[in-house]
Symmetry: C2
Subunit: 451 residues, 2 copies
Amino acid sequence: MNPTPASTQTFRAIDVIRKKRDGVELSRDEIESLVNGYTRDDIPDYQISAWLMAVVLRGMTRAETAALTDAMLRSGEVLDLSSLPSKKVDKHSTGGVGDKTSLVLAPLAAAAGVAVPMISGRGLGHTGGTLDKLEAIPGFNVNLPVSEFRRVLETCGCAMIGQTAEIAPADRKLYAMRDVTGTVESPYLICASIMSKKLAEGIDALVLDVKTGSGAFMKSEKDAIFLAELMVETGERMGKQAVALITDMDQPLGNMIGNALEVVEVVDVLRGEGPADLRLLCIELAGWMLYMGGVSDTVAGGKKQSEKLIASGKALDKFRQMVELQGGDPRTIDDPIKLPQANSTVTIASPRNGYLASMQCEEIGTACVILGGGRERKEDSVDPTVGIVLHKKVGDVVSRGEALATIHYNAEARAASARQLLEKSYQIQDSPPLDKRPLIHRVIGKAGDKN
Amino acid sequence: MNPTPASTQTFRAIDVIRKKRDGVELSRDEIESLVNGYTRDDIPDYQISAWLMAVVLRGMTRAETAALTDAMLRSGEVLDLSSLPSKKVDKHSTGGVGDKTSLVLAPLAAAAGVAVPMISGRGLGHTGGTLDKLEAIPGFNVNLPVSEFRRVLETCGCAMIGQTAEIAPADRKLYAMRDVTGTVESPYLICASIMSKKLAEGIDALVLDVKTGSGAFMKSEKDAIFLAELMVETGERMGKQAVALITDMDQPLGNMIGNALEVVEVVDVLRGEGPADLRLLCIELAGWMLYMGGVSDTVAGGKKQSEKLIASGKALDKFRQMVELQGGDPRTIDDPIKLPQANSTVTIASPRNGYLASMQCEEIGTACVILGGGRERKEDSVDPTVGIVLHKKVGDVVSRGEALATIHYNAEARAASARQLLEKSYQIQDSPPLDKRPLIHRVIGKAGDKN
């Protein structure tokens, strides 16, 4: 009879939308009811999209962000890896161009005795994806059921698969909605999406690599630091150790971009070779994984140990073992020339003498997508063979006519488009660039206070 | 081949959502494509709701508001009343408690020679609706087809109906979505909704009555002024004369609340009787309608003329004529006791001696809804007979035991709930209230500059 809605008794999505719209903090119960209601299809898309836009524009408190992460995490299965004696540590990157560190780090940390249960994603926009890189190895299966994932992990200490239907289904539904409603770009929603999936892996600690620069999703360092702090605090609120490194993505990482080409560079690094920037970042991140995994007392100690495991060949052995356990052809690891290769190559030459001042990193990533190395539409398949090999990095001296990069391609028209984009992405000047950006900008998180 | 979306060629709703999210002004074309796409079902609900929330939180420029109004207006039929020689003028109120001025104004302005093609709404929330009041007159048909609406208008100079399916279908779809996504409360969206429907009537000028106070949707005067300015400017941008009066809704207008009771009070005013506040506001608004309708040179002249039309009985004759033309029983106008009446009444007595300091106006409206005079759910039917008659208004002296109000009801339980709410809504104090609010707070719009 009384027209006042009984909102204290019954959860109504509209009330939660209005509260967020008006900048009022939501309770843990309200966020949980919203996420569960949406996952169960009780709340329609049009209500969740209005709420998502309100979150993008109003933001969230740390408590709300943790509650959202927790509700998304608990929308599905959370792996219980407590039977494994080692500490479980994962690494997550916010995505970049030429970022193949996961393929180095999983076997490297496993070789040191840390368990690495890594659930990864595919390429997004101009950035590459770990799963696409792994699938460049003939036979490698990223779609293991959870039981098989667990078996590989128990056998060799690391395993790398894609997201399963059981892990954080709320995130899959919410992400699909964000993608079509302009609500991707919110640090709170990005944090909850990443952290809910990672914490569902049943890990003890997480090392985050938050990229910043022209090839990153967070172009500005300020935004990268904000997201990093949010993810670290969210992890800690959920009882997990977390640290974030803000690292440079103003030019590609390493020299190889493209799925099979990046596997070649991974093997180079695991052999103690490969480009200096990629080696340095892998050792730094591995140092943190070993420290947080409890197999070394300091990050510095973890880095030393990682270098030894590379020098001894144990890290490469671990990679070969994982590849074989997941159905991949181990001969490609010993002899990377056996990896699939593109039919043709073409070289981009420097138009003048000078110094390489900068590279538009997102455009280089996009050039690789144009070649077929990434997806323009979700349903596209990826060509593992194509890509770009960089011969010069920022700060290098270049001579007129000297090769800046080599394009590996299978279709002339795609190569022409990619070439045009690549040529535009280089800036060459007379004097050396003044402010060289560091590879590691800073470390965020209490875990790093003593190191 | 190139992954850059061809957004310059193809309209994509996501681009418009992102722009609004980022606070970038939308073009007329973008707004039109969005409204048309949604009306045609090409754009899904979840995208429009994200956009609506972005509008609520980012606002709109005046140009965007006019473009949205125009696109919504042109989503359906726009009446062409150019064959009528008189100027067409309508009045719209943002809604209040006891606001029955439309029923007085349409025949009053028509009696002066202004054409009034009035398309009205039903009660919303705690407020009454013109259609519900008209339907309290036995036989009155508010659902005339457009051809019949035109015939009544041509015959007697005024006609009053509900929204047809042909008028602004985009507004109907958008309003339904706003209602369930917490996006009703935006002055820009409210303005576009009101103005698109009103301008679809084919009018030359519009008098807006924007309510402020405890019984209005815009509780604060600041919000009421903002909305009024927005509506007036939007009307002017679309080539129509518009003026807005900010008027008081801190207590009910007149003494009667409830559909049939309000018709009784309308007849009182048209007979030159009725409560002072209601008479005053009707004359003021009629003055503006006559002035903007070109039948008087000033608002003051229009007010005088209106008073004469009431004194001569011509305004009441016009009301009787319209009621008869729309199927209503004209005997109820001459003898309002023939209007439907509730079975029982109960009186609320003052608990003490003193002055009536204030009334919680929204609660009084809600009490009438509880009695059955409004809808708690959209599908509810309305009881025309129930309501509340006020015996005291703010500032009046009251004695202990004296009647403050009489409840007209048909169900004991409803009467008990309404009584409880009503009793709580009165504040009685020892001294007279100091700051008596004016009935007309101010006039907004260039049309009023000279008056």
